[in-house]
């Protein structure tokens, strides 16, 4: 079970932010816009991460990751991180925008 720890942290992030989609206009409802915002940034950060792993700037505890990895020992969880965290941030920003607009209209 411990090997799923990193995956579970990411799953929790997705689960906690999912209800924020109720705010308009939404992020999942603008999936293509989200993809075009997240993918270019994720690509750059994955490359940075690959270099950092290669240079042993940081490493991953094998006890807490699934063991599925990309070249240069990059855990699959780390790739997912760069998709999940930006998605959570977009959902937060979408919700905050919607709430502030509601206040400003009063």
């Amino acid at each position: 079970m411990d090997r799923w720890q990193y995956v579970l942290v990411l799953a929790a992030c997705l689960a906690i932010t999912l209800p924020l989609e109720i705010f308009r206009p939404g992020v999942y409802r603008q999936a293509w816009r989200a993809v075009r915002a997240i993918l270019p940034v994720a690509t750059v950060f994955v490359l940075w991460d690959e270099v950092a792993i290669w240079a042993h700037i940081w490493t991953y505890n094998p006890d807490y990751i699934t063991g599925v990895s990309l070249p240069f020992h990059m855990p699959i969880e780390e790739v997912l991180f760069f998709l999940v965290i930006p998605l959570c941030a977009l959902l937060t920003y979408n919700a905050v925008n919607a709430i502030l607009e509601r206040f400003n209209r009063r």
Partner: protein, 103 residues
Amino acid sequence: MTVLGYTVPAVLSVLIVCGLELTALRTGLFRRPAYWLSMVIVVGFQSLADGWLTKLSAPIVVYDSRQTLGVRFPFDIPIEDFLFGFALVTAVLLLWERQRECR
């Protein structure tokens, strides 16, 4: 030997992202209260998730101590992670905002 292989790129990433907005993208994101409020919320939740990933008692991510300043707060999060997170999230929000203008 301390080489700050995390600190230096983390600072650079923040400067690059801010520089891109101020010189090229010009989305106006930094003038939106919603952005700054979102960042406060993001940092709050980052502390929880990142805290779990980096806690020294059972770390999922292990840092070479020579590559960071060694300041780990809150919990055991290397402060460099907050620069890294700021650059990651801000860059995504900038590209998101840029598409608002294009439509």
